[in-house]
Amino acid sequence: MQAQAGQSQGQMMQGSQGLQTPPRVISGKDLDYLTDQMSWLHGAIKKFHHYAKECRDPQVRQFIQQACQTHQKQYDLLLKHCQNQAQSANAGMGLQ
């Protein structure tokens, strides 16, 4: 998101103040929650896809299809957090 520039500034060392905000690190707890969140969305995506196929009313069908698409976008948004973290972790490995 657009807050990234501000993010890194907030994480600069402020003299002896230390970090202003926690750094962009996926904690163990974050990973547990991300796993849960993607699992919830995965279930909703498959269920809605099935419902949309079974619906008779075009308006209801279209609505459920759109909801299904929204959840797929959300899934990708959360997945990126794991992928970015994996990349920076690998890059860090290369440096050491």
């Binding site: 962009r24 904690s27 707890k29 974050d30 929650y33 849960d36 209801v60 459920i64 959300q74």
Partner: protein, 110 residues
């Protein structure tokens, strides 16, 4: 239901069989969104850093909107009715809580 305290659209008919119909599907979509908003609310609170928090909050807000739109669609189809509260009871409640404001630090200010 010619009761004028009930607000409801004409009900769109669905097959009354053991099979799931459009109303059942939409009802379960609403249940799912309620579950997702509850769950993502907790996830947002537990995020360790800002970038993650912002994205989880975005998902939470989108799901609240989805739940709302589902409810509105069900209302359109006549599958949801709203009952007006008794006008006198509303006034009583308003008076009661207006009165409680006297207990606030700024209670006497309007």
């Amino acid at each position: 239901m010619a009761n004028n305290s009930v607000v409801q659209n004409p009900e769109q008919q669905v097959p009354k069989t053991p099979e799931m119909n459009d109303r059942d599907y939409l009802n379960d979509v609403l249940s799912t969104e309620k579950y997702l908003t509850d769950s993502f609310n907790i996830a947002a609170r537990e995020a360790s850093h800002d970038a993650l928090f912002q994205d989880v909050m975005q998902v939470l807000t989108e799901n609240h909107t989805l739940a709302r739109n589902t409810y509105n669609l069900m209302f359109q189809k006549g599958w949801y009715k709203v009952e007006k509260a008794d006008a006198q009871k509303i006034q009583q409640t308003a008076n009661q809580f207006q009165g409680y404001k006297s207990q606030f630090p700024q209670g006497q200010m309007q």
